[in-house]
Every structure is written in C-alpha cells, then in structure tokens.
Amino acid sequence: MPLTIHKSSYRTGVKNVKAFIHSRRFVIFLFLLPAAFFCILYLVAPIPISAYYSFFDWRGINQGRFIGWENWKRLINDRVFWLSVKNNFKLVFFSLITQIPIGLVLAALLSSRLKGSRIFKVIFFIPMLISSVAVAFLWRYMYDPYFGLINSFFRLIGLERFALDWLGDPAVAFYSVVVATCWQYIPLYMIIFMAGITSIPEELYEAAKIDGATSLQSFWRITIPLLWPTIVNAAVLVIVGSLKYFALIFALTGGGPNHASEVMATYMYVKAFTEMRMGYGSTISFSLFTIAFAVSVFFLYITNLRKKSRW
C-alpha cells in the first residue's frame, strides 16, 4: 500500500501548497518582493560594503590595497571632516528650529478656513516641486553680490551695509545655504502636518470653542498634543535629512569657500569622486551612516521616554 499513502500525502501536499499560495501572507510577500529586492540591492547592501571598502586604499579601478585602520586613523585627525560634522549638526539645529515651527504654523493657517487657502497651498508647495539644482540656480542669482535681488533690495532701501557677500564670505556662506535649504524643505513638513491636522476630530475644536477657548489656545492645547507623534516623526526626517544633505550645498557653494560650508556628504563626494580616493570616501560615508543612525535612535529614545513619563 505504499503507493496510496504516497498519493494521499501528495494530495494533502498539493492542498497545502495551494492554501499557502492563496494565503494573505504569501501574496503580501510576493508583492513586496520586487521592492525589497531593489531596496536591499541599492540601499541596504552598500552600507556593509562601504564599511568593507573603508579598510582599503582604493582608486576605484582594479583591486584596492588592504591598509587596516589607516583610513580611520586619518579620519580621526582630519580637521576638515570634523568641521563638516560640526556644520552638519548646525544644519540639523537650524533646520529643526525653522522647518518644523514654520511648517506647523503654515499648516495650521492653511487648515483653518482662511480665504484663498487653497491657492496658498499650491504656491507654498512649489519649492518642493523644483529640482534642487534649479533651486540652487534661483538662489545663486538672488545672492549675486552685484545684480542679485537681495542686495539690490537692500541698496534700494538704503541699507547698503546689509548688502553682504552672501556666498563668498566664509562667515556668511553657510547660513545663506541654510536659508535656501529651509525654503526648499518647509513645504514638505507643511504637507505632513496638514495631513496630521485633518485627522484631528472636528468635535474637539467645537467643544473647546463652546468652553470659550481662543483659537490660539486650541492650537496649543489640541493641535500640538494630538499632532505630537507626527511632529516627532517629522523631526526624525529633518535630522536624518540634514545629516546626509548634499544637493543644494553642492550646487550652491560646493562646500566652499575653503570648506566653510562643507558637510559630510559634500566632503565624501570630493574625496571619493574628485580625488578618486574611494577607500577614504567610503570611510566618510560609513561614519555619516553611523552618526545619522546613532542620532536618530537617540532622538527616538528620548522622545519615547517623554511619552512614557507623561502617561
């Protein structure tokens, strides 16, 4: 009788496979597969690979030469690298104190039933739709010391001394870049907060109104607390985005003058692709990853602590 046993077990096997194919889990798995594949190939895999390359003296052609911890020793003593780390944290700080509050205020204003809020919604969102290089061009022409909009304006109203050398003065260049960056990214957070505000039940505001709350009070007492998880998530996006920021800085100043606006990503680019030192570039990029990872984990940890203590 071994044959029938075999047959029946074969049948149940087929049944199981069929059930498995039709199960929700398998379908989800199947649909995630292509995205997961490319995500792992292009986003996850390069991280350990760049850690591996950081131990090599490698020109990007042929084989590299294993040099142990040399790149890392060099990094610890690299004045320009630490300057770029400092600039990155300054960028995080300024982005947090401008992008989140301004985004929040704009979102609150546009969510209230102001006249023309739909038109402003579109107008405010435009910077987000322009590619970074085009944004850089726009600001480059506005910052032009002779023909630029900003200096011409200051000269027109007689405030000649505010007509600065926006991108050329090492003391100012970094902040000029920060302003352009914030201009570009505020709309993103505005949209995120607007989505958050829509999910707050209207009844809460009505109840507050009946109790005699002003709109400012209901903003502080209802909108902010209920939006808090969204704000924390947005802050993580700001932090990580600012730590790995590249495009606009590279296009506006190239990290100059003489490293004044250098950030980790622009420095990594110059080392890896201009000087063709892929090993050292990988060292910088892996430190960038480590720092961004550590900072965002730390941030999530302290915001969670706060949440727990509140309950």
């Binding site: 010391p145 600065l164 050329g168 003058p257 003489n258 201009t274 000087e275 063709m276």
Partner: protein, 346 residues
Amino acid sequence: MSANNEPDIFMSWGSSSLELYVKEDKVLDLTPYMTDEWLDRFVPASLAIGMFDGKYYGLPVTSMNTAVIYYRTDLFEKYGLSVPKTYSELLNVVDVLKANNIIPFSLANKTRWTGSMYYVYLVDRIGGPEAFNNALNRTGAFNDEPFIRAGEIIQELVRKGAFPQGVNGMDEDTGQSRALLYADRAAMYLMGTWANGTFPSENPEMNEKIDFFPFPAIDGGKGDPKNLIGTPGDNYYSVSKKCANPELAVEFLKYLTDAKMAKKLVAAGNIPPFTGAEDDIKDAKIRKTNELLNQAPHVQLWYDQALPLELAEVHLNTTQALFGLQITPEEAANQMEATAVEVFGK
C-alpha cells in the same frame, strides 16, 4: 572604467587624470603605432602631456588653450589707460579704474580654477617654470619663495579692491563674471582663450570692444614674460588595453587628427594641436592667440591638471582662501607642502 567595462577609445585631460589609468594598466601604449609621419602632425609640446615614461598613451585632439587678460578697449580708452606690461603698470591701471568706480578684474571664484590662473601665472613670472617643476620633482618645495610671493601679490590686489566683492561666491559656469564685464562694471578678465568663442556667441556687439593682452611681467621676476599657462592639447584620446581591435582604434585616431579634422576644428574656433593648421584661422583674436602660443618658450599646464588629484584639491582650496583673505600666503604654501610630503612620501 571602474566596472571593467571601458570603451575602446576614451578621452581625458592628459597629465595626472590620464596617469591614474596608465598606472592601473588600463591604457594601451601607442608608441609602436606612432609613425614619424603621424608624429610630425602634432605640435611637440602638446604630445608631452599624454606621455608617461617616454611612451605615448594619449594624443591631443581638440584645442590649444592659454590664459590671457581680456579687457574692455573702450573703457581703457575712456580713462586714458594703456596695456600694462609690468606689475607696477598693472597696479596703476587698477588704481585708475578703482577711482572711476570700475571693478578692475572680473572674477568668479566659486569655480576655483579661475582664481588659480592668477596664482599659476604669478608663480611662473616670479620663479620661472623651474619653481613649479622643482617643487613637483621634490628638489624644491611648494613653500619656496615664489609660491609665497604669488600669494602675497594676490592678497595685495584683493586689498586694493582689484576683484569683485563676493568673488568666492560667484560662479564662472553661470557666467556671473562675464555679466560684470558686459554691464560696464568691470574692465579686465583673466580667462582661458576658449573665451574667444564665448564672447561672440554670447554678446557679439560687446565682442568688438574686447581685446586681450598677455599677463604682465613681475618686476625682478625670473620668468620670461612670454611664458604662458594653459593646455597645449585639451582633450587627449587614448585606446584602452581591452580594445579588441587596436589597429582599427588607431586608424580612427588617425582620422581624428588628419588635415580635414584640423580645418573643421579651426572653423569651430579652436586652435588644433596640429602643425600647419594656423593658415586657415580667420578670427583676429584666435590668430593673435596662436602667435602667442608659437612664441612662448614654455607653457605651464594648469596646476589643477598638472598636480596629483589630492594636491590639486588643496591648491584650489588654499588659492580660493587666499582670495578670501582667509589664510596668509605662508599658511597656504605650508599646507601645499605638507600635502605634497604626504602624497609623494618625501
């Protein structure tokens, strides 16, 4: 190239950028294919940039370029100025222009190689070509006197207001320098002679009012004032070692460097690095450029192409910082020398 998937023929700027690939054994040695007849087609100085250890790896194809000082003839006339032959005459021109509220030199130095041209010329005029060559072959140093003196002169000019405000923030690639020249705000512009083609295409009317003169001599300097800086070939074409049909590739290179190509290049406003092409040049400025190149005892290759890549980066950054008065000439020179010691190991 990095993916081991190189094309049969590729292009570089010669010198250190090509040397990288030669060292990694990616480039075919063209020496066996170089017949005397073919060699005679090239201007000898232009071949040197594609040569390593006496072997030919890259052949110049596109254009010979140098840097000259373009100036607005009408503005010079208006203020009674004549073309300066020495640095002290140049300082006088700077003073007169400043007094009339004209920026003496238009310069966009976010781009960095633009400011580097001043530095390269100054070192050559002060110390002659030996200064740089000795520093490069390590019998001299990058903090020798000519390098420090060049930095001092740049800063002297900056302090006199010879350059635009915000010079390090302006971008050559978006034409912010030429805008000042066209708008009667600036009078002079040190630039590569590819500008001979840029002016007529951007602003044909203004082109009539623009002429150029060679970089002036430095009083007491060792360098011949006829020396130029630039590149004697611009784009260098090489054949990769993996090429399956090297004979065909060489055949194609011959086609790219023949008399017909020379005529086409001249028609496009270039000075091809080939002998016997100059008779076809019609444009007055290009003819004048060609004469300068023919009379030059030495053409110093741009430092950012002549130096190894790391050192080029330090050179560009320190020179930019000199223009921004961010560092002293000694500091700039010492940083160069320290990096050179690191790169060359001595």
